[in-house]
Amino acid sequence: MLNYLIQRLATIVPTLFFVSILIFGLQQLLPGDPAMILAGEERDPTVIAHLHQKLHLDEPLPIRYLYWAGGVLKGDLGESVRIQKPVLELIVEKLPVTLELALLAILIAVTIGVTAGIVSAVAKNTVWDYAANVFALWGLSTPNFWLGIMLILLFSVTLGWLPASGYVSPFVDLKANLAAMIMPAFVLGNAIAAVLMRHTRSAMLQVLSSDYVRTARAKGLDERVVVLKHALRNALTPVITLGALEFGTLLSGAVLTEQVFTIPGFGKLIIDAVFNRDYLVVQGVVLCTATAYITLNLLADLAYFLVNPRLRDRHA
């Protein structure tokens, strides 16, 4: 386990180094003096001078990178020019809203995607299989911001069942919170459900044709027990690890979903920052998502390692 962990960490360090270069490099795309642009429309000379000093803009590029990376390692992602708050604090403030949205979306995606995948594999080449495949194609091809608008049209404008936008904390009013989050969570979960359905179908088809499933059937076990207990348990392992890779889709989708439903989360933070030219917030958000993605990948790999005896033996 330790050997494997060291091996994985050895590949992560250079990846994180390149991620930091990529994100630091974004600032170099700004035309002209970055301090002038980062200072916002007011272009207050005091702010510009402060930014010059804080970002070490008079130093050569490699030195500036070292200062920036040193700050990042200490948790200093800079300060929002617009809100006058540390970027990290802003991200931590907005994160719970997006995390709630993401968790509800995953719940919906797993319920729909895994169920459709099992049905599709068990009933291969039947009308259920075709229906599940059509659902997957529909999920992958529907832009989630359009789906969001269409759901608002149906459930908010026409039927008047759900609020079209806004956010209420679950600690204030749980019912109102769920009413506000159910549509955005479905929109976000829809595309991931399609991906999970395809992974589950392919993993289930592989497992269902394996010897131990054939043995279980030969023993006369109930088909439901064979599918749900013997096959699904093994098929879910690759599905969970591949599902972890959908984290990027989840965050990208959250940006659009939060914009459609006016949810004050992580995604809305980056878009507001883009339009307020609050570039340090944009950099901070990209850095946090990349780091979270790499960490999740590592955790998924470790989980796979722990449940896969063959991989454990190879690294023993």
């Binding site: 990529l22 091809s141 608008i149």
Partner: protein
């Protein structure tokens, strides 16, 4: 004793793998319908000035937010512009973004992946870590960040989507090169003294084209959605120029009294993306029948 001699008439005609794949593709009904829809959109984009019933920028204050009628098939928008004409002209932005950004990704991704896979060693290690770093940033978030720093415009959106899509092509090309470079015909090409550049370009590259075509088709679908998303967020095509994404952005503000403004741009994105996805799936099955 008689000897069976094969006459030219009994020898089956050998077709190239490409032609066999095309024949398999032609037998897949879903993929062929999808191809038809893609061709329809391409023709629509090319003939937009002749097909669109009105000028997509012409406003009419007497026809603000009018529901679909015989004069305006898809209705009109918040300043009286014809939605159908804007949907037709919006096809150009979407297809252009799809094709240009994937071309950018191919132009950078394939040579870099070829170098990584063929040269190996520290070049491969360096390129692989850089690719991992880019893949660690979610596609749309990286595209939003790039579009934000480059400035909002359709050109910059296409550059941002192209750069964000590049690592997938680097990784795919590298994996394919690693698979092909140990084949006997590459060894033979090396043995007769071909240069590395010639081996890479003449012997390896042509043999890794099929998976690249499949990925490019699927990447166009993703790029069309990404362009629509960036335009929806205000980072792509700028108003008043028509784009499906920016039309949806405006439409969401009038959803309670002019829902037709949101329906047709969304249906168009869905149809185009679905068609590229179906075509990509069809091409994958046609090039690699075992994957079915």
């Amino acid at each position: 004793m008689t000897t069976a001699v094969a006459t030219p008439a009994t020898i089956p005609r050998e077709h190239s793998p490409g032609r066999r794949a095309l024949a398999r593709l032609a037998r897949r009904r879903g993929a062929m319908i999808a191809l038809g829809v893609v061709v329809f959109f391409v023709v629509l984009a090319l003939l937009a000035p002749f097909v669109a019933p009105y000028d997509p920028l012409a406003t009419s204050w007497s026809a603000v937010r009018k529901a679909p009628t015989a004069a305006h098939w898809f209705g009109t928008d918040e300043i009286g512009r014809d939605v159908a004409s804007r949907v037709v002209w919006g096809t150009r932005a979407s297809l252009l973004a799809g094709v240009v950004s994937v071309s950018i990704a191919l132009a950078f991704g394939v040579p870099i992946g070829l170098a990584a896979g063929y040269l190996g060693g520290w070049v491969d290690a360096l390129i692989s870590r850089m690719t991992d770093a880019m893949l660690a940033c979610p596609f749309l978030i990286l595209a939003i960040a790039l579009a934000a720093f480059l400035g909002p415009s359709l050109t910059n959106a296409m550059i941002a989507i192209g750069i964000s899509a590049t690592p997938v092509f680097v990784r795919l090309t590298r994996a394919q090169v690693l698979h092909v470079k140990v084949e006997d015909y590459v060894e033979a090409a090396r043995a007769v003294g071909n240069s590395h550049l010639r081996i890479a370009l003449r012997h390896i590259l042509p043999n890794i084209v099929p998976p690249l075509i499949v990925q490019a088709t699927l990447a166009i679908a993703a790029a069309v959605i990404a362009e629509a998303a960036l335009s929806f967020l205000g980072l792509g095509q700028q108003p008043p120029a028509p784009s499906w994404g920016s039309m949806l952005n405006t439409a969401k503000n009038y959803i309670d009294n002019a829902p037709w403004m949101a329906v047709w741009p969304g249906v168009s994105i869905f149809l185009l993306v679905l068609s590229f996805n179906l075509l990509g799936d069809g091409l994958r099955d046609a090039f690699d029948p075992k994957s079915r």
